[in-house]
């Protein structure tokens, strides 16, 4: 993918407020993802029904990479079954770690396929994905 296109997808999602809000509704699971070594701090709000992610929202204070990838994740995984979501997260992880992965599953999240070039930002790119995985694993 062209670097300019990637950049504009990252920035569009960084600015996108669709899924960016705090949720008071207690039917959502609240998960705090915090990167102690840097300073990202994001709350995920996860609503699960019938083994499906019915809704996924987030809010917090974080860098451009963390924020953008979380926005993409919310869009991508909303409506997916827990099993499907875990599979996508594992593929995303493989991409970040430069292993084989299914590009088609990741849609816009493919924009982070060269984040390995900035090792210090890998954690930013995976912080909330790992937070969500932790919650989903409780259902498996």
């Amino acid at each position: 993918m062209d670097a300019n296109i990637k950049r504009s997808i990252i920035l569009d999602n960084y600015e996108d407020k669709t899924n960016r809000m705090d949720i008071e509704d207690t039917s959502y699971i609240k998960h705090n993802s915090r990167n102690v070594s840097c300073i990202d701090n994001i709350n995920l709000y996860i609503k699960i029904n019938n083994n499906t992610i019915e809704d996924l929202k987030f809010n917090g204070e974080a860098c451009v990479i963390s924020t953008s990838t979380t926005a993409i994740m919310c869009k991508l995984l909303k409506g997916k079954t827990i099993k499907e979501a875990i599979d996508i997260i594992k593929n995303y992880d493989s991409m970040i770690e430069e292993k084989e992965y299914n590009q088609e599953l990741l849609k816009e999240a493919n924009v982070f396929d060269d984040i390995y070039k900035q090792p210090s930002r890998k954690k930013c790119a995976t912080l909330t994905w790992h937070g969500l995985l932790e919650e989903l694993n409780k259902y498996e």
Binding site: R7, I10, C38, I39, E61, C63, V64, T67
Partner: protein
Amino acid sequence: MNREDFPMLKKEIVYFDNGATTLKPDAVKNAIIDYYENYSANAHRGDYKISMIVDEKYEKTRSKIKEFINAKEDSEIVFTSGTTDSINLIVNSYFRQHLKKDDEVLITYSEHASNILPWFVLQQEIGIKVNYIKLDESYEVTLDNVKKAITNNTKVISLAHITNVVGDVRPIKQIAKLAHENNILLVVDAAQSIAHTKVDVTDMDIDFLAFSAHKIYGPTGIGVMYAKFSLLDKMKPRNYGGGMNAIFTKDGYIELREVPTRFEAGTPNIEGVIGLSAAIDYVNNIGIDKINKYEQDLKKYLLEELSKLDFIEVYNKNAKGSSVAFNIKNIFAQDTAVYLDKYNICIRAGNHCAKILNEAIRVNNTCRIVISFYNTKEEIDLLINVLKNSKNIWNEIL
């Protein structure tokens, strides 16, 4: 000034993260190499010449530190692994024994974690109370607010001399006077001040002091705890073993060595002490007052230049230390740091270990510059230029 003494400055970096650690001059490195190449032996053990040299250098450093902070006795200087270690030693080896349930310690929201968490643990374990001195609108400590926070149960005030986020300089001498009038002991965290301004424990009448060598151009892993002799003598060693005992017998009898040796069990960080010694010589050769003047002038220049940029917010314009906390408006601090790093400009982004201050000022993360004497106007001009072009930040970092 003195840039030629710092090999790291030949690497085309602009190093502004002096609050985290300082770069090391050749003199420090050479002193450590000299130890390993020419008299590498243990301390306090020797019956042979090179070991005697170690002993002499080790104890001379104590004496040098005593003079540097104007303590009364060499024996008031204890070597630790750094500020965190020193404060933990003060809290656990003195206050744990001398405070009781409901006694109060006064700190502030802007202390470093190292001067908060050890007190929290005493709060949990022996029931002391941790109370906060209110900060004024510039997040500074006023004598008046210290007075208001003191109660009949206040037994200790524990403050940074200069804080690591705001960079405000506390009126330590006046606080000490007020504390002592009320039978309160004063602990001072000098981590952020020791390299920038004169710290005089006698003039300021400080009871306990902590600092790290690596923030004053020395090596990592070595620091100093100062305590007035009468207090030090009442402290309980935290480590028992070699070097700190005078006699022990099979029935469990132990007689400890004198102060301060009883607090330095085991083989000490000899290379650290020797490196610290060289660092103190280095700073003394320039002169701490000259350093202070240079850094203050340069900080003033930095603030003037930053104030010309309307997209920059500075959070501590009034602070008297050598630090500047800022953000590019609407840009997350870490993104700014990554952007500046593209130009080899090293700054710190984060909460700077002052998490409860951030709750109070509602700015979680800032970019922080702490000026050192090796920084220059040219470096600041470069920073300002890069900031001026920061509308390109996303093209640069994504």
